[in-house]
């Protein structure tokens, strides 16, 4: 143990209460930062996983067709032209999904592709009716690109596979229309009425999905929409989800269809999560800021109280750097204890919150608070507190180092 560290340890005891105040603020700051970050990223991760498990990492839709960049006006060589902004237009839907699927599967990062046929329809039950969206899927393909298999909350996906005119209904629609597995309902599309049976009820947890989607088998959907060929879009799952943007750009270029990565499709929601996470981080960092101010105040008081000791240390050959180090050590000791206890507290509260049954409904549906365990929450919390407290400690420690021993002793002795 270095001599400066030993002196710092003893000096710490000089202002126990003030140091405890700084320590408490560091513990609270670090702990609450970890908890809030775990919760906000928990909800964000839940959203991302649900989106990826429901809509896939990439959606391929709309054929890209190049257009003229400008059109001459007033005759050839007239000097007038109308410029088109993008030079390309999009044609909705996919004409030959099987061929395109083959092209998409050639991408190394692709783990599955599912063709989906979608239309807006009206759903009738004996209880009431509501507007929804019918999705025609090939079950085997779709299970490969989604989490649908694990989102079933009532009934069975096997029933859907074998049942004629079976349907998978979202939890929210099922509740609104009072449908249970085995019940029948009608879907009306362009005045055609088709009858279906509820094979199972699924729940993604995202209200926007569970309140509108009804999955049908592809053949049933084609019959309903009178579309014997084609698809609305291809849903693509990836091995590495974070490469979705690069893969989507490459697919657009090479396949001639617009491919949208999940990060771009859900930009607004992801933006909300980011803003929320930053806002809570800033709010909670107020504790760390208070800890910094408390540390500044405490060290400044210790410097004032220990001027004689500083002078005598300087008279014994301790350098200005030694004096500065002694005071920085004091801050570092409190900081180390504070961050360690704060991390432990954050971990304990995060665990407790994640275990406590707390039904959440609204945008999301969950039975408990969603948290995400990440070492980065702890690292960020420690970095913020280290920066705040050490910056706050610099000024008093430099002031202590600048004190002239002769001035102090003269002032005391005379």
């Amino acid at each position: 143990m270095s001599q400066n560290f030993r002196i710092a340890l003893r000096f710490l005891t000089a202002k126990k209460r003030a140091m405890l105040m700084s320590l408490s603020c560091i513990i609270l700051g670090v702990g609450l930062f970890i908890v809030t970050q775990a919760a906000t990223t928990g909800f964000q991760e839940f959203f991302i996983k649900t989106i990826l498990g429901t809509n896939g990492a990439i959606l391929i839709q709309d054929k890209v067709q190049a257009t003229m960049r400008s059109i001459a006006s007033g005759g050839y060589n007239s000097g007038y032209e109308i410029r088109q902004k993008e030079g390309q237009k999009y044609i909705e839907g996919i004409d030959y999904p099987e061929i395109l699927t083959g092209g998409v599967k050639a991408f190394r990062n692709v783990s599955g592709v599912s063709a989906v046929l979608r239309e807006t329809v009206t759903i009738h039950s004996s209880f009431r009716e509501q507007t929804g969206q019918a999705y025609g899927i090939l079950l085997a393909d779709h299970l490969r690109v989604s989490s649908l298999g694990s989102q079933i909350v009532a009934g069975s996906i096997e029933d859907f596979r074998v049942q004629q005119a079976g349907a998978l209904v979202g939890r929210v629609i099922a509740d609104k229309l009072q449908l249970d597995p085995g019940d029948t309902f009608e879907i009306v599309d362009k005045n055609d009425v088709h009858h279906y049976r509820v094979s199972a009820i699924y729940q993604t947890g995202v209200n926007d999905i569970d309140s509108v989607r009804v999955y049908l088998k592809m053949d049933d959907a084609r019959a309903l929409f009178k579309k014997p060929t084609g698809a609305t879009y291809l849903q693509v799952s990836l091995i590495e989800r974070d490469r979705a943007r690069e893969d989507a750009a490459e697919m657009t270029n090479s396949l001639g269809y617009r491919a949208d990565a999940w990060q771009d499709r859900e930009k607004s929601w992801l933006g909300v999560f980011k803003a929320f996470r930053v806002a809570t981080a800033i709010t909670v960092s107020v504790f760390t800021l208070i800890a910094g101010l408390a540390m500044f105040n405490t060290l400044a008081m210790i410097v004032l109280e220990k001027t004689k000791e500083i002078a005598i240390l300087r008279s014994m050959g301790y350098t200005r750097e030694d004096i500065s180090t002694i005071f920085l050590w004091q801050a570092a000791i409190v900081l180390a204890i504070g961050t360690l206890v704060g991390c432990a507290l954050g971990g304990i509260i995060t665990y407790a919150v994640s275990q406590y049954p707390m039904p959440i409904t609204g945008i999301f549906t969950s039975h408990k608070f969603l948290v995400q365990w990440s070492k980065w929450h702890y690292i960020e919390a420690v970095i913020i507190s280290v920066l705040t407290v050490m910056v706050a400690s610099l000024m008093p420690s430099r002031r202590a180092a600048r004190l002239e021993p002769g001035d102090i002793i003269r002032g005391t002795a005379q």
Binding site: L313, S315, G317, T319, R320
Partner: protein, 228 residues
């Protein structure tokens, strides 16, 4: 002819102003002084004549406005702060009117503090030397006692032991007995001078006490910033 003792410290033409602007006072007006190893010097004079200011300059705690200081033959005045700081740790021991002990530390820890900074001895050697020094000032049975649990006389004796810790060339003492009763004052003075003489160290002390001054080898009276 007997050998002249080595010059531990020498200053020449020291001048020092204190205060600023209209409050600026010419405290030292060209002081020249020499301290030889093994001798005890008393600087006496009325309050405000510049005794303590001279002592802080000699102890490299302050910088002269003019003049030169040599410690152990090395020119120190106006040298870099780091050089002066190192010289203080190696060549100078201080005893002040107030003991200035680090009260959170025990007696032995206080005495070992300069040794740890200098770093010339092993931890075991430091403990042995500090124990021996405390024993020599009559505190052998209180080495592990906190400074707060000692009497005023005992605290000042620990300060004397601490000043001797690194076997400095010179010991500077500013009213070392000023806060003590007659008995303790005499005890502390005897300890300080006998230890210094045994180790061949020069002692320069500032005092108002005529008895103490009388017992020193040399007395240098000061008035208005000069020796008279």
């Amino acid at each position: 002819m007997a050998d002249q003792p080595k010059i531990a410290m020498r200053c020449e033409g020291l001048q020092r102003y204190l205060g600023q602007d209209e409050g600026r006072v010419h405290v030292l007006k060209g002081v020249t002084f020499e301290a030889h190893a093994g001798h005890v010097y008393a600087i006496v004079g009325p309050s405000g004549c510049g005794k303590s200011t001279l002592l802080y300059l000699l102890g490299l705690l302050d910088q002269p406005d003019a003049g030169k200081i040599w410690i152990n033959g090395q020119l120190m005045s106006n040298s870099l702060d780091a050089v002066r700081t190192a010289a203080r740790g190696e060549h100078i021991g201080f005893v002040f009117q107030f003991h200035f002990l680090m009260l959170e530390f025990t007696c032995i820890e206080n005495v070992m503090m300069p040794m740890k900074k200098l770093g010339r001895l092993t931890p075991l050697q430091m403990v042995e030397r500090a124990t021996r020094l405390l024993d020599s000032v009559g505190l052998g049975d209180k080495v592990h006692r906190l400074g707060t649990h000692l009497s005023g006389g005992e605290q000042q004796r620990v300060a004397v032991a601490r000043a001797m810790a690194n076997q400095p060339t010179i010991i500077l003492a500013d009213e070392p007995t000023g806060n003590l009763d007659v008995k303790n004052a005499s005890l502390v003075f005897d300890l300080l001078t006998s230890l210094a003489k045994d180790n061949g160290q020069a002692v320069v002390l500032v005092t108002h006490n005529p008895d103490i001054a009388h017992r020193c080898d040399f007395t240098r009276p000061m008035r208005d910033g000069v020796f008279v």
